[in-house]
Point group: C2
Chain length 327, copies 2
């Protein structure tokens, strides 16, 4: 059942022995939201535990600060899931809890309404923005520790206010949180600047691999198993690398290849006028207008040839269309 | 003479035939501020020209949109300098104007008070924030074009709200500007993500050059003339590269070398507990606690040895101090 902020605050007031859950592969928003709500409810003298199936990653230490993920022994806690769009995102180990969530607080429009009560605000850039409003409703007050968690949630989910999901509300809340005296520049350094030695090594290989096609309007990079092995890095560290080719000036099609069994997983990003999904559909893939993916069987050079030919064709057609329009 | 917003607005109201000047090597703040003020004053039916000695760079096209840098023929315009801390920053070609600035609007605390009247707010992260307040005072209203210029000024001077100079005001103004319907995600993509082909090539060389010292607590990169030559890139494109070594996880001293005549210009960035200025002072340089610079004569390997030894010593001393404290 969908509920509003007022009702959600009431439910939290009426219950005690609360267990707050984050989604697996935790990011800044799910952890920041869970921790902020935990600290706020404790200020109201509630007994609260917070848990994530994958633990609390070390890079978020500045938020949890000694707090440990914990499921209480007591029977029947009041269970709150934050930033969790579907119960399976709680992780396999949590399957006993899938149908036991009392309250879900989320901003994903894809939320499956699996909880008894759901507070959903899909126009919020981050769940942390909803938690901030909820803490206001609860009257718990925002201290530096809570502000640190909420700011991290908003900043990470908006790419430090860069992405198009950022709203005026995101900025207004950031203003309030900054006024609580948080060290936001250090938070942003930790979240957006610090790179592992192995990540730097991967970047080195990846930049060495840049290939250009169609008069440098198409750029392609590849990450082979061999590169991962040589640099000792893992898949998680590659997250943002697929944006590299499309970041190059003048590039209209950016392509990233990642080696898998028997072939390459391909991600394609395109400029406004070129359909990425159409390019990927030729290889049985799909996606959105400007970001799509597919899989191509074969060795590196063979796969590069196939996908670069498809990109070449798309660019040629686009140029033809532009010429016709200008005539 | 220092004046407040009210008086600055009055001066602009009382005058016409206004020339607005940006500083040389224009950045997003000086150009965004100058253009926003130009467009706002024109809404009030003023005749306004805007000029920068280095022209309007192409990457800011989305702000000036057909507007051309121009000094009017008419005698004695009312001259306003924005984001210009000292008249020499107007550029050599503008030396006739150095003592003719009627009004200066700036946020640099180092402003030399060279203008007849100066509106200085050094607690503003960007001059664009002061211009926004001034436009409010003038009652000109903020349209999408003006909002685009002001947002660019704030975003670029705060590193997209990452740097410690960002204030609650920066965020609140960003919220207002976003509500004007600007394409802020595209602005941020242009300002922070798009890289030239030659910049990508330099990064490739630079990442290949990373060297680690002192158990990977010190990282060093170098940019030789040869690299610039091979990649066809210029000094402007190297701006943010000196932050690369300090971005590596675990690194406490990040060092960047740039080849000059007979030696290397060195920039040093350090973690909180290590004094960068002290390291650089050993070579006749100086700077701040956490960011300093110096010049060392000699060939590449010789210079690397000298500066890495100084870093090694600083790290050893720091570790000794830490040990003593924990005893």
């Amino acid at each position: 059942m969908r509920i509003d902020l007022n009702r959600a605050a009431q439910l939290l007031c009426d219950n005690d022995n609360i267990l707050i859950l984050s989604h697996q592969n935790p990011d800044g928003d799910t952890l920041g939201s869970a921790l902020a709500l935990t600290f706020a409810l404790r200020k109201l003298k509630k007994t609260v535990s917070v848990y994530c199936t994958d633990g609390f990653p070390e890079n978020f230490k500045f938020m949890y600060n000694g707090e440990k993920p914990c499921i209480p022994d007591t029977s029947e806690p009041y269970i709150v899931a934050v930033d969790v769009a579907s119960p399976v995102l709680l992780g396999d180990k949590m399957s006993d809890y899938y149908d036991k969530i009392n309250l879900c607080i989320d901003h994903h429009s894809s939320n499956t309404d699996y909880a008894e009560y759901t507070l959903l605000e899909s126009d919020s850039a981050a769940t942390a923005e909803i938690i901030l409003k909820l803490i206001d409703f609860l009257g718990a007050g925002i201290d530096t520790q809570i502000a640190t968690c909420l700011y991290t949630g908003i900043s990470t989910d908006t790419g430090c206010f860069r992405y198009s999901n950022t709203t005026a509300q995101s900025h207004r809340f950031a203003a309030r949180l900054i006024e609580c005296g948080i060290d936001f520049s250090e938070i942003n350094r930790q979240m957006f600047e610090v790179k592992s030695v192995s990540r730097i090594a991967v970047e080195q290989y990846v930049l060495n691999s840049v290939r250009y096609f169609h008069n440098k309007k198409c750029a392609l990079i590849y990450i082979t198993k061999d590169i991962l092995h040589k640099t000792g890095s893992n898949e998680n560290e590659l997250e943002s690398l697929s944006s590299v080719p499309y970041q190059i000036k003048g590039v209209k099609i950016g392509i990233t290849l990642r080696e898998r069994e028997n072939g390459y997983k391909i991600s394609v990003r395109t400029a406004k006028s070129i359909n990425a999904a159409e390019i990927c559909a030729q290889f049985g893939g799909g996606g959105h207008l400007r970001a799509a993916g597919c899989f191509i069987n074969g060795g590196l050079e063979e796969v590069i040839q196939k996908i670069s030919e498809a990109a070449d064709k798309a660019l040629s057609e686009n140029e033809k269309l532009k010429k016709q329009k200008s005539l």
